[in-house]
């Protein structure tokens, strides 16, 4: 990846937002989105990760994937802090619709109402969804 550092240059810092709206395992989007988040962090960008709609299910505790033969990637969320990815947001309305609270989630997050999320999204320079 070194040549990328030379080309792109980490000196430019942009506000990147990752919007996670898909449940885990049913599709691969959650897993491969995490890889994109980690890379942006490695490029020292200002990374914001939003979980809304079924995306909040990605953070659900106690995932046990052995019986479906798939890799349990939920521990990766706990590793995000080590990469300085600390701006994790969960939409309040999505959480409530699913009968969940922050206690059900594997990592500490900031809970924002859709109204508060509006303002945060509007400030972003690059928004990646899947």
């Amino acid at each position: 990846m070194e040549e990328e550092w030379d080309e792109g240059g980490p000196e430019v810092v942009k506000r990147f937002m990752y919007v996670n709206r898909k449940a885990p395992y049913g599709t691969v989007y959650a897993l491969e989105m995490l890889e994109k988040v980690l890379i942006a962090a490695a490029f020292e960008q200002d990374v914001h990760v939003v979980f809304m709609d079924d995306g909040v299910y990605q953070l659900k505790k106690e995932q046990e994937t052995k019986a479906i033969n798939m890799k349990n990637f939920s521990p990766t969320f706990r590793a995000l802090e080590g990469y300085d990815v600390e701006k994790l947001y969960v939409e309040k309305e999505s959480l409530e619709a699913r009968g969940l609270t922050v206690d059900d989630l594997v990592v500490p997050v900031e809970v924002l109402s859709s109204e508060e999320l509006k303002g945060l999204m509007d400030k972003q320079e690059v928004i990646l969804t899947a």
Binding site: M1, G8, V12, K14, E32, I39, A40, I127, L128, A130
Partner: protein, 119 residues
Amino acid sequence: MKFGILVNEGPFQHQASDSAYLFAKAALEKGHEIYRVFFYYDGVNNANKLSEPQADDRDLVKLWSALAEEYKVDLVVCVAAALRRGIKDDILAPGFRISGLGQLIESGIQADRQITFGD
């Protein structure tokens, strides 16, 4: 203006890749620059040169290759996504190159606007 484009789906199953191609073409024809098209997830299947659509249908792999040649567009296939899906150099269509996910972030940094096409 410089645009960066992310394509998350392969040809055929979803319209995403068609839309991305037509967007890129329209931008170039208006005199804009495409900084990079990055193919992620099943999007890496756009680079499979073995693809042979029906004679009366569009051929997205060839269309992307032609766009790359005419306008010198940088078409980058994510190496990790491609490995999983069996897209290797042996079957890579002209104009595409395989590289790291960092190229997507770089696109986000360098382009004036970054836009996603997906499922």
